[in-house]
Symmetry: C2
Subunit: 190 residues, 2 copies
Amino acid sequence: MSAKTTDTKQEILSIARNLMKKVGYNAFSYSDISKQLNIKNAAVHYHYPTKEDLLADIVNTYIEDYKKLESGLSSSAMKAIDKISVFADRYAHLIEIQSICIIGSVASDFYTLPEAVKAKVVLLTNLVLGMVANVLEKGRANGELFFEEDARTKALLIMTNLAAGVQLARITGKKDFERIRTALLKQLKQ
Amino acid sequence: MSAKTTDTKQEILSIARNLMKKVGYNAFSYSDISKQLNIKNAAVHYHYPTKEDLLADIVNTYIEDYKKLESGLSSSAMKAIDKISVFADRYAHLIEIQSICIIGSVASDFYTLPEAVKAKVVLLTNLVLGMVANVLEKGRANGELFFEEDARTKALLIMTNLAAGVQLARITGKKDFERIRTALLKQLKQ
DNA sequence: TTTTTTACTTATTAGTAAGTAAGTATTATA
DNA sequence: TATAATACTTACTTACTAATAAGTAAAAAA
């Protein structure tokens, strides 16, 4: 495989990931990608015959990203609260780049997705939820974190606060996200 | 004004509201509406010349709805916890009709909206947040509800839990929404 | 009763979408 | 060196989008 193929395919993927987070699946086209790369529309189709193929690969890269993050976090000596804080930082960053989280983006179009992609999205979502739940559970066991719910429920509460917080920040400004972030971390420290 | 005009226009609006919540602004077309009503595409344009006009009216109806809900709630003898519970029920209902909340729907497309609509969305969002914050504040003053954050922050936490909970339920099922709802109400009762 | 307004339909336009078939350089392989 | 695969471009098709102009039947207003 030549270097150029990989480069273009990777760039298509990178641009598509950003578009997914910024505008969502239904709101970007192959020409949005080809124009940014100064190639033709058909060249994108060469690498990803259909938009569904592209979406499947996008979701795959997020699954890989989160697997790496998970193994990084589980082997890290970082305090549980700092791990959650790092997680919250990822969402804060999304606001800066005018994006929303990939799960929220996909949720909007969920019913129009092919079954193969849906299954991957379910996998991704449970991966993220499981990762957060794990950090929470260990943190509570260590006496670092305080919460009354079971770990999955608390993970759900935190993830929904962050994901919708990013969406809301588009409307009412990022100050509201900061209120959410601060309250969240304070709650966990009791 | 004749009866028929109002009927068709109201039906267009009603169908468009449902489509907004189900698939979002970018994913429905005038023909989705005209087909449901057995009228022609141009008839929809007669009532709403542009899609932006339609969107503006959709957001207006939600503003009116929430104003009514607010005045209903503020004059109601219902307990604060029940008011929040009713609010949560509205979100649970969205899952049944395969929809997400209007604010979440609009947030996805926020950057592509005309300024006039953006302003209305900001108004709507602050209306809902203010309403919830009000119920929370009064409930706390009455000794019915317990929370440490300021009322707007707690309203943000609850709204993000519910809004993203509905989105998440599309992916992982409505059981996760029920976990969120239950945890939320339990927290408020201390 | 004439005129005007309302609520459409018919027919069309300009633009964009995803997707494909066929051709062409360049690079790698046999 | 001939062959085959790679990474495209050119050119096109089909389908749909929002939007508009022009015409029409029915109802309301003058």
